[in-house]
């Protein structure tokens, strides 16, 4: 390649061809990418918080259930806020209704004892926009 750098020299096309062919043919086989491998960019499977820790919501576990309740109105937060899977969300909802009916849980507010319990999700940033 020094010849090229020195000045503008016209080389016969055959020499150029022989250079390029040498570069392309002599490739190491180990450098060839393996196209049969799994998708390396596939994202990790997301799990909801109850499935991850293998928790089954129970109507007697009021401390857990109250975390899915609004402190202002006592209503149950929707799936777009809680970030639970469909199955767990229905379970949580039925258990909350059962607990409220059995006189274990408040209906129009969150019980003041549980107000400072840790937040499992951000109410202000739902997964999907609110419908109201």
């Amino acid at each position: 390649m020094n010849i090229l750098n020195r000045s503008l020299v016209r080389l016969p096309i055959t020499i150029l061809q022989s250079w390029t062919s040498r570069c392309t043919y002599v490739t190491n086989i180990t450098d060839v990418p393996n196209f049969d491998m799994e998708n390396p960019f596939e994202k990790e499977r997301k799990q909801c918080i109850l499935c991850k820790h293998n928790i089954i919501p129970d109507y007697k576990n009021v401390k857990l259930l109250s975390q899915f309740q609004s402190p202002y109105t006592g209503r149950i937060y929707g799936r777009h806020i809680t970030g639970l899977c469909e199955h767990k969300q229905t379970e949580v909802e039925t258990e909350i209704v059962k607990a409220q009916s059995a006189g274990l849980m408040a209906t129009y507010m969150k019980e003041p004892v549980f107000i400072k319990s840790p937040k499992l999700f951000d109410v202000e940033n739902p997964l999907r926009p609110h419908r109201f």
């Binding site: 997301k46 909801c48 129970d58 899977c85 059962k98 409220q100 006189g103 274990l104 849980m105 209906t107």
Partner: protein, 147 residues
């Protein structure tokens, strides 16, 4: 055999009376052909909302949990019996939860709408309502004559 859970809220009373009330509830269970698996005291505390029963307003109650087996037909009678007991403020009978493993579907639910299975089913249903199109059976994918 179904395992039930009976949640009873008893009014605040001295220990001897409490014992007799619990015995009475257990006796009625036995009378209806049930067996008790577990009896748990969940403590005495303020109720989340006041309850008025038997002409009184209660703000506090002692919580007790019975786990029992009984014929399903007896449940109605049991609830009726406990409803007439003046020491019982509130009673509920639920089936005991049998834990079953369910695969988490959150990952699929977070996909964009056209990739979600329930959306795909809806689209398929809507396709069924499409107007039928006349098939010319010419073996051609175009209409050979002038329209």
């Amino acid at each position: 055999m179904i395992t039930y859970e009976l949640m009873v809220l008893l009014r605040i009373m001295p220990k001897s009376e409490l014992v007799s009330t619990l015995k009475r509830t257990a006796e009625t269970l036995f009378d209806k052909g049930g067996i008790i698996r577990k009896l748990e005291n969940l403590g005495t505390r303020d109720m989340p909302y006041k309850t008025s029963v038997h002409g009184m307003v209660y703000n506090r109650a002692s919580y007790f949990l019975f786990e029992f087996n009984a014929p399903p037909l007896a449940i109605r009678d049991l609830l009726d019996e406990y409803g007439r007991d003046i020491d019982i403020i509130r009673r509920r009978i639920y089936k005991k939860i049998v834990p079953e493993h369910q695969e988490c579907t959150l990952h699929e639910e977070l996909q964009p709408a056209p990739y979600r299975k329930n959306v795909q089913e809806l689209v398929e249903q809507a396709r069924k309502l499409d107007k039928p199109k006349f098939n010319y059976n010419t073996g051609l994918d175009y209409y050979p004559f002038q329209k």
